[in-house]
Assembly symmetry: C2
Homo-oligomer: 520 residues x 2
Amino acid sequence: MSTENLVKNALGRWVPTEVNSVAQIPYLGVGKYKPEGRIHGRFIPSNSDYPSDGNKEVATIKEALVKAGIKDGMTISTHHHFRNGDLLANIVFDCAAELGVKNLRWFPSASFPVHKHLIQYLEDGTIHHIEGSMNGPLGRYTSEGKMKGIAVLRSHGGRYQAVQDGEVKIDIALIAAACADTFGNANGLNGSANSGSLGFALADSQFAEKVIVVTDTVVAFPCIPWQIQGNNVDFVVKVDKIGIPEEIVSGTTRITNSPDRLLIAEMTAKFCDVTGIIREGFSFQAGAGGTALAVSDYFAKIMRAKKIKARFARGGSNKYLVEMLQEGLVDYILDGQTFDLDGVTSLRVNKNHVSTSPFTSYNYHGKGNFADLVDVVILGATEIDVNFNANVASHSDGVLLHGIGGWQNCLFSKTVILPVPLFRDRIPVLVDEVTTICGPGELIDVVVTERGIAINPLRTDLIEKARNSDLPIRTIQELKDEAERICGRPDKPKFKDNIVAVIKWVDGTIIDAVRQIDND
Amino acid sequence: MSTENLVKNALGRWVPTEVNSVAQIPYLGVGKYKPEGRIHGRFIPSNSDYPSDGNKEVATIKEALVKAGIKDGMTISTHHHFRNGDLLANIVFDCAAELGVKNLRWFPSASFPVHKHLIQYLEDGTIHHIEGSMNGPLGRYTSEGKMKGIAVLRSHGGRYQAVQDGEVKIDIALIAAACADTFGNANGLNGSANSGSLGFALADSQFAEKVIVVTDTVVAFPCIPWQIQGNNVDFVVKVDKIGIPEEIVSGTTRITNSPDRLLIAEMTAKFCDVTGIIREGFSFQAGAGGTALAVSDYFAKIMRAKKIKARFARGGSNKYLVEMLQEGLVDYILDGQTFDLDGVTSLRVNKNHVSTSPFTSYNYHGKGNFADLVDVVILGATEIDVNFNANVASHSDGVLLHGIGGWQNCLFSKTVILPVPLFRDRIPVLVDEVTTICGPGELIDVVVTERGIAINPLRTDLIEKARNSDLPIRTIQELKDEAERICGRPDKPKFKDNIVAVIKWVDGTIIDAVRQIDND
């Protein structure tokens, strides 16, 4: 590997000093990098340049893009509240291509399989590169070295941080909202295609030079609640349909029925019980994956048995969490992303189901955030190494297939537990060294597998509390060895030298680089 | 009058080119000044500098000020949600004086008679000058030329604009909140001393370098709703009592029982009816003064009779407006300032009673604001001249006694009506030239007096609609002449040359200057 323009970061990873012609800072360690400078501000607007009747409606997305001054090299942002049911991003770049605009930077909060439509625009130069979490085909395209620029992957909090700090200056933001008034106040709750929260679009609405709200349901002013504030909006476009809510649930939002996964979930909940994490007024966050949902379900059983309740649960909300709120097992859901229609309905009607944003929950360059306050968070990983470093972005074959989401941000919770199977498709999840480090081991406290639980040696308190339980506590090395005894030691993926993506840490430094896969 | 360092603005007023050593722009006309530059940003913070458990509580206000780095020459902001029941500002400057800090700029959203306590700190140099609306003794102190610096009066929207644009950089903001968690999430709703909305503190929470929340009621995280977001807060201080809610209502929040004022209110409502302003789905804003409340009451009667409702009313909320919401006469109250405890309760329990802020409602350097969208606004004035220019800041004796509040911002509503008595204490309200111009006549549409209604000649549409009514439509000159026939022509107040205060227009330019009164 050439080390020209590379530097070794605090985790020993070689990362570039420049990405897409922008100078970079290598990861320095948790809490080590101190930002300088001031929060970014867009140009000061004046009411005198906006319609005096407050009506900002324009006829088409293309017209709005033209009025917003779209031109070569701009940064265009979109949001993933509809996940694989997003209809907007593809149309935006169809318009850009029709207008002959080139070398755009697409800055989505995440991309999904539906966005493989955009590969043609990466090919023809309409889009130069993508900065945003990758789920599926665009990740593979990137891993194969086909994208002109280098992809930049950020957590949800890292995305807010990058925008707030002026690291990414958005020229035009497009926001798909279920419901809006013509002034631009908008929400994801009261239309016909509801996505629930719109928190991922908050930074864009605050900091982008031009903001376009796209909706299929226009209501009379005021659109209440205004998750997006019209005072930040330049144009409103009405279309026939803004998204497919049924596709939000794609993939991962049902409780697992795999016996192994259920065992892992039960062991996780039991661990939290034994160590005193589950107590009156505690707080938790579990994702929307099958195992995480099962953990929540076991939490509920324990809480019922002990007659205690949680002060709050952080969402991604889903029907299981909503049922816990309704049952009184949690006082509040603090919801960053609505994963199903039960979540949407609850967010609309239940005042204890509260929208959050990457600003409140995840931004590391704030005066604290909510993730710090959560007692226990249940997360996934594609790989975990013997130093507890974990990977969520690439598969064990080295291909970039997943977004980071809020995963990195959640590592700052008081206890971080990764319930994972010991192996997937006969490939061990526990390894000597992860392919891509997305989170440093010092922040990962517990790994729960179907064959035992490993506690990070840094957490002597948890080790002490779990000592006299009947839980199968083992070292991570023991678990890794067992995985290798069963599956053998797989070949490492092969890479070329060139960097195709970088993984940002929550503070904007580079924690790892992803290289082109070598299929030769 | 010396014209050194003075310039004539677009209204022909001589205004200073520099105030407190900062260069100024003269008023250029409505919508003429275009801002340059970017929205201000405070220094980028890092979570690593905040407590990892999210607990930001410190023991005393003084300790918080010291931790916030208070020093000579800083700008300290407070808010007037408790109006004359504010307890915080006086304590803050008591602490500053004890610490020996000098030359502070006090930047309240408004000052009230209770703050005459601070005159000692203007005398001893703790406070250099005040920038904020003046109600009462501090205004008189300023008018008498006793303050070291020049006072700067801004509207609520102008205050947001000044902070947003970096014209006023707040070093330390103090926010009195009825209820908060130790992370700093706060509201004015769920404590023992409730002020309702906290919208006037929004800009300060977003832009001040250090933000201190002071409360007497600490709740477990999360404090819901978070009108102030803990992510913007540095320190939380618990005190015994943060304010006297009963003093919020001081002065002006009961319907007038003066027959003349009731007549003016009735004529105003009738004018709105005759000209078609009151129609299904219209919107209105009336202040909390006795006449304005009476106008709302007449509006309600007309709406009941016509079986129509308003889409929204802008508050200052009060029990009369709350009753209209409960009765279904308005769909929404968009509330910037809660004037009584009925307003507080409604804001807490009624989801159609929505908190607003100077950002949503009044900021002229935004992408539009809500004031533009209001069909009719009912405002007061101390003087109105034959060019429809109006004064709200000084009395006819030239003394600065009132704040601007949202008054200037509301002038951008579709129809602006000033119901005023023709004279007060035998001093005509209608004059040849107002002592202090707070709003340009081109934005003031109608003046309603007990002896007739004057419509601004620019509003040919309203003149046409009112033509065949039985309303006493007259010219403003006729009304002024009548006032002078009755009262005589009063002597003009006498002033010295030196400027003691400036009145900012909504865009940060100077619309007028106030000079020291000459009592010799």
